[in-house]
């Protein structure tokens, strides 16, 4: 068996433990992440088959007993391989891939909904996340609290260099580029705690620019908002002379 496969077998016990982790795209907890994870497993399966088939054919061609061919057989062989393998195989694969992939990508877009999703503004700094809730005026650092079970639109900007906002268990990433606002829509299926990390090299402490995302059930979410509003009022009351 090809040596790479032996390497894969060595990893099997750990693989089978679910490829989990708070930041794993293979432990999806949101709809977008679920779809991409499924896409990945299918693509891996088909790729493995293609790789084994191509390598198998090569080994067979290299080591089998050669058969004498006349020019006509040669032309047939050439046509079969070049057209079947060179044109048909990749084109069919590409069409199938796009047929599944394009709708998935489309569903991940922040297109207008009947009810506008909640908006959270995140600004990337070197090397921390500034999280702002425009509706309620709350500001957090390196932490996001959001309601579970409904879509949330993140409006992403940068205060300095290019960063990238990424919470793998919920969905894909998008860059935070100075001068622009990019929008990413994420939805957590169920309450939980997830981890995010900056995914565009942004300088010295890029490796430490992490993010904690807490998705709360709807009641808990309202409670949290209320608690923060009270704390805010208390601050203001305390601060006024």
């Amino acid at each position: 068996m090809p040596k790479w496969a032996s390497s894969a077998v060595l990893c099997l016990p750990w693989l089978l433990s679910g490829c989990g982790g708070d930041q794993s795209a293979l432990a999806p907890a949101g709809r977008a992440a679920h779809e991409v994870a499924l896409l990945w497993w299918w693509m891996l399966g088909v790729s493995t088959i293609v790789l084994i088939a191509v390598c198998g054919l090569w080994l067979w061609a290299q080591f089998r007993k050669p058969v004498d061919t006349d020019p006509d057989t040669e032309r047939r062989i050439a046509r079969r391989w070049l057209i079947g393998g060179g044109l048909v195989l990749p084109l069919v694969t590409i069409v199938v891939l796009l047929a599944f992939g394009i709708p998935i990508g489309h569903r991940m877009l922040p297109l207008p909904l009947d009810e506008a999703p909640m908006k959270i503004e995140v600004t990337g700094h070197q090397w921390w996340w500034e999280v702002h809730y425009p509706a309620s005026g709350i500001t957090l650092e390196d932490r996001i609290v959001m309601p579970a079970g409904r879509p949330v639109d993140f409006h992403l900007e940068s205060a300095d260099v290019i960063h990238s906002f990424w919470v793998p268990r919920l969905g894909g990433k998008i860059d935070m580029i100075p001068g622009r606002t990019n929008v990413l829509r994420l939805q957590a299926d169920a309450p939980g705690r997830f981890r995010g990390q900056c995914a565009e090299f942004c300088g010295l402490r890029h490796a430490h620019m992490t993010l904690t995302v807490d998705a709360l059930a709807e009641d808990d979410w309202q409670a949290w908002l209320a608690e923060r509003a009270q704390a805010g009022q208390a601050d203001e009351a305390g601060a006024s002379p």
Partner: protein, 827 residues
Amino acid sequence: MTTTVQTREKVWHNPRGWRALTVVSHTNIGRRFMLTGLFFFLVGGLMAMLMRAQLAFPDQAFMSAEIYNQLFTMHGTIMMFLFALPMLEGLGMYMVPKLIGARDLAFPRLGAFGYYCYLFGGLILLSSVALAMAPDSGWFMYTPLSSDVFSPGLNSDFWLLGVTFVEIAAVTAGIELMVSILKTRTAGMSLSRMPLMAWYLLVTSVMVVFGFPPLILGSILLELERAGGLAFFDVARGGDPLLWQHLFWLFGHPEVYIIFLPAAGLVSTLIPVFARRPIIGYRALVLAVITTGFISFGLWVHHMFTVGIPKLAQAFFSVASMLVAVPTAVQIFAWLATLWAGRPRFSLPMLWIFGFLVVFVFGGLTGVMLALVPFNWQVHDTHFVVAHMHYVLIGGMLFPLVAGIYYYLPLFTGRMPSMQLGRWGFWLFFIGFNVTFLIMHFTGLMGMPRRVYTYEAGLGWDIPNLISSIGGFIMTAGVGMVLLDLVLHGRYGRKAPANPWQGDTLEWTLRLPPPNWNFDTLPTVNSRHPLPVFPGHNTDASTEPMPSWLPDMSHGRRETLGCHPVSGKPVSTIHLPGNSWWPFVCALSLAVLCVLLLIRAYPLAAASATLSVALLSAWSWYNGPRKAHALAPSDPDQPPLHFRGLDSPGLWGANAGLMASGSLFMSMLFGWFYLWTVAPLWQFPEQTPLHWPLLTGVALLCSLAAWVYRRLLTPPKQGLTRSVLLIAGAGALALMLLATQIRLAPLAVREQAHDAILLVMLLYLLMHVGVALLATLLQARRAALGLVSAELPYELPIVRQLWRYAVLVAWALLLVLIAFPLSWGVY
């Protein structure tokens, strides 16, 4: 007059000691590129090992973030710019004349110059490591991180100046290979009889000529922003950091195919020899290679799927990125078909080819996955991409390279490899590679981003990283064993018999190792397989004796055949330049300039630049033939000497150089239109700062110069010098008008991107007019001395081309900078 071996050795002599710096022969220069590339490979590999040591365990304090950031930046920079391309260029320069039946490449001194630029540029880059000032913004140097605001200090400047210097070598090699393959093939070698490797290298060299200038432009603009405060990538002043990404990847994507195609050419070379039959699908392969070259220029945005560009654009680039798999698949199945229909025999090179297949196909498959946008959004900028790119780069380039080196060992040293140690080296490397990088796909999927100097425990990344690091050590052992194997067999292997592998192409007619001049006499070929090694497949074996060419060297000239680019019919005898100090001296002067720019000593740098221009002009002067050779009678049996006509390698080289400059210009136009339409805070001033009458004057004068030159192509017996001086006069006037425009235009280049771009474009035109003027003045002097005349007209069309290009740029600027915006109503 007979030519003896002694005569040949004298004409093609390579001096030793100090004078070895003057050597220009392609065999030596190609070998130097390869050995220097090997040195940089080992340096880059050492850096990778240090990185893997740091990442083996979570939260390690083995290495600080500063050091790690410099290491990963330099690892990528060294491997991509100082190893991959120079190594393959070196192999190409070494092989091409032997493949196409020539004695040397078309521009031996240019090749030597390119080598020294590579060497000095590489040393400048390495010196940054020694000074602990290595670039640390990633090998693709995204702004604003790499700008002076967020990366003060010289680190990024080392990259911008050093890499641009090294790229001179890439572009000169591209020009040289392109012209050599098109114009110096031996008699009868039409394009359809050319070895496939020559096709692959032809397409690669054209890709280099067009693909490198966008990066050169980007680097110049970023350096101007960092050192001069000009605004190109700064949002507040009307620029856009994404412009850098576009310019970089416009280069970056063709770059990886530039790296892959020569290696695929090696596979196409080895397969038929080891299958003992001609390759199946020669035409399909040529078409596939050309298609790959074209498509590769239309894919670059797949590196930018997460920046937020419009979805329609993303869909286009996604589909295009997948479609490039089609010509690649055609190549793979042509190879498969050849093995299937042949009588394959196994060997050490074929073992490495099999390794290439497994690794590269897997890398290609993950590449198609990455082209799918939703999946890309998860794994972009993670270790999944690191795994993918190492699979395609190491699989697609390193494995075929090693196969090719083993295959051509008889040419390099006259000795044969063997399976004994080689087999161990292969498996050690293959296993080590897969242990390192296979698991890395999962490391990325589990959320580990790229370019992190450490990571927290408990995220599931601990074991995979440890496995990758252990694999890295195994891989290193493999590299060591392969190198040992090559050195041992290179020196002590079995002496190679004639045509040891039974190859069908011309390089196997040479003595092993071949003499400096390759062929004693140049053959005529009339089929794809000049050596009839494939039984039953020798078409049109002619019974007439086929003429051989250029047997005589007693006149003391280095010569090779000049051919028609398509049919291969011999049309001229090219007098090649011999050993010279100019390439070394000029490269050294440019190295001094590079260092002065680096330390921002601008007045000294200006003086140094003037010196470089003088040295380069002197080189161009001494590159022409001495009068003795120029007016020597041609051998009646051989085609005429090339300086008697208007078509010359120099003209083709000039055109190739202008194509590269044209690619730079088109990148500038891209920048202009991009910033105009996309930059968030782009502003037009109330009025255009340009004065159209001045610019129109410049364009008209350049047009006059080009027009007069056209008439000089049938040079008059008398008055040539006067006419050339007239042209120089028009050119000088154009230069003055342009300089006036630049000085008088109210350009606030530090405040507005609009003005900064205008300045760069005007300076670009100024440079071209200046070069054309300088060349014209030199030509006038040469005409006065009788070195350019009706009998020696070949230099005239070359300078004419310089004026024609200046005309093109001048009118284009009028259109794009004044007419178009005015008609759009922005001023």
